[in-house]
């Protein structure tokens, strides 16, 4: 299955829900914010949000800024 994560196409396996994406791709998963197909997805919904081929996923975090 192919999905786009932060603009890059990734071939993923063993993944069924958004929570799996976060676990697998976020080296530092705390305070991560996600969008799936342009929709913001709160963290309490990750485990029941299914991933399907072609999904556009954004993984966003807080960084230093002025």
């Amino acid at each position: 299955m192919k999905v786009t994560i932060n603009g890059t196409i990734k071939e993923i396996t063993n993944i069924s829900h958004l929570s799996d994406i976060v676990t697998q791709f976020c080296k530092q998963p705390k305070n991560i914010i996600t969008e799936i197909n342009g929709q913001i997805m709160p963290s309490n919904q990750w485990s029941n949000t299914s991933i399907k081929d072609g999904d556009m996923i954004e993984l966003v975090a807080f960084v230093g800024g002025g």
Binding site: Q28, K30, N31, I33, V60, A61, F62, G64, G66
Partner: protein
């Protein structure tokens, strides 16, 4: 001795200069003792950042949002910011109102992002804020319940539109971001201070504690700095210096500074000594 009780004059002419008991900065109903906001970008390391937040005693710090790096581990900036501090997420990266709104909503989804510094920049050379798009974003986000602090180019009409749009403060730039040139827009920030009934927070270009103090003496409600602190030889010490200078500038404003005079005026008595009978 509460020195503040001696203040009597007022910027608008009718109320006391100190509008509340402890001269707190009030934004969206929330009280802050500190009038120095610290940005968290560009620090050489997170230890310096954490120590600078501590030494500055800032109660509001800005952060940004960014796509995570899928390949490398990145520190979570939030872990270096104490829980009691108000997080102010900026919309840096937004080139128009719509993008700013999207970033603000993402921030909110984290549970930390109700306070938003709107920053809409559509110019990669001077990084000047786009006032028109900033007004639009302010309107949308204020109506969604965000506490909105728009960063803007100090234009009186824009400031008035921001008030109408529901902004919680107005944040005019002092000079170009990261230029450390101080208040090149001083005359126009003064107009905002005199005319706008919201806290004016001077943001961008404030490169030294003396410049920060000058903004406060002018009547600004607070100052935000980032680049100067983060890129100093000793950021932790400079963060403290900024905070202290902001306080000094505030006290000076409240104490009603005398103005400049064109000519000399003696501070010691010059007459009646030694040679009056010569």
């Amino acid at each position: 001795m509460n020195l503040l009780h001696l203040s009597v004059a007022d910027k608008k002419g009718s109320m006391s200069l100190v509008t509340n008991k402890n001269d707190a900065l009030i934004i969206a109903g929330q009280e802050f003792k500190s009038r120095f906001l610290l940005g968290t970008g560009k620090f050489k390391n997170k230890k310096d950042l954490a120590d600078s937040i501590a030494s500055s005693a800032s109660e509001i710090v800005t952060v940004a949002l960014r796509r995570i790096d899928l390949e490398h581990h990145e520190d979570n900036v939030l872990e270096y910011i104490p829980k009691n501090i108000t997080l102010l997420t900026n919309t840096s990266g937004a080139r128009n109102a719509q993008e700013a709104v999207r970033i603000a909503r993402l921030a909110k989804a984290s549970g930390y992002g109700n306070w938003i510094k709107i920053e809409v920049i559509n110019d990669s050379k001077y990084l000047l804020p786009d006032n028109l798009e900033t007004i639009k974003a302010t309107e949308i986000l204020a109506s969604e319940g965000f506490v909105v602090l728009p960063y803007m180019y100090p234009d009186l009409y824009t400031a008035r539109a921001l008030v109408k749009a529901g902004a919680a403060t107005v944040m005019p730039l002092g000079s170009l971001i990261g230029s450390n040139q101080g208040m090149k827009t001083k005359e126009f920030i003064k107009i905002l201070i005199d005319e706008i009934d919201l806290p004016i927070i001077v943001d961008a270009g404030i490169g030294t504690p003396s410049q920060a103090a000058e903004a406060m003496e002018l009547g600004a409600s607070a100052v935000l700095a980032n680049t100067a602190v983060a890129t100093a030889g000793n950021p932790v010490l400079l963060a403290k210096a900024f905070a202290q200078a902001v306080e000094a500038g505030r006290m000076a404003y409240l104490s009603q500074l005398p103005g400049q005079r064109p000519l000399a005026s003696a501070s010691s008595p010059l007459t009646g000594f030694l040679y009056s009978n010569e």
